[in-house]
């Protein structure tokens, strides 16, 4: 199982801060995004953006990063702190 988190405008637009995805280890972040996009037109629109950043186990990763079972994956827009 993989825990998937959403933050900021992405969290608001998807209407959820967390989903669980079964049997997804061994695939890339890009594969996970494609899988989530199939949930609805809205999910497709929000996640297809070039701008979505990904972190795995609290580290920024590229979309080619390979996910392992038990990983915590997070998706969020470009950061705007400071």
């Amino acid at each position: 199982m993989i825990k998937v988190l959403f933050f900021a405008v992405l969290r608001e637009r998807l209407g959820t801060s967390e989903v669980a995805v079964e049997d997804f280890h061994g695939s890339t972040v890009a594969d996970l995004i494609q899988h989530l996009e199939q949930r609805s037109l809205k999910w497709h629109q929000e996640l297809a953006s070039q701008d979505v950043l990904a972190a795995v186990n609290q580290q920024l990763v590229s979309h080619t990063y390979v996910i392992e079972a038990g990983d915590e994956v997070a998706f969020f827009p470009p950061v705007t702190g400071g």
């Binding site: 933050f7 900021a8 405008v9 609290q58 920024l60 827009p77 705007t80 702190g81 400071g82």
Partner: protein, 160 residues
Amino acid sequence: MQNVKIHVYEANFDVGEEYRYLADDAKFGAVVTFTGLVRELQSGKLTAMTLEHYPAMTEKALAAIVSEAQERWPLGRVTVIHRVGRLTLNEQIVFVGVASAHRNAAFAAAEFIMDFLKTRAPFWKKEHTNDGDYWVTAKTSDEQAAQRWQANKDALDNEG
């Protein structure tokens, strides 16, 4: 990490107190501080903002940025404080302070930490205005500011 203080919380901070901590190590004669504050938009309509973050990741991301700065420059104490939650106009948001034996290292490291905090640390601002609430979008200029450090590093690596 030794000599590194990283805090992410709702409470305010006191710049004078943070400066005294940074300066209270006799080996380092140069102390640089940066403080960022909530300011009115050009429209004059901003009343407050809310800082959201990714709690499990935030301190890790800040520690990685500080660690990278320590590899580049000889530093003494380093402090990074970032507030979260609702902040009203003119409140303090962020503090970065660096001590070093060399003033140029202290300046460079403080600016480096801010540039990477702005582009790599998981914080998001939502502005509350008289017209409604808006998520702040990332600035190209912030990404460019972070990228020039990579260019600097490439130049240095090529020299070596």
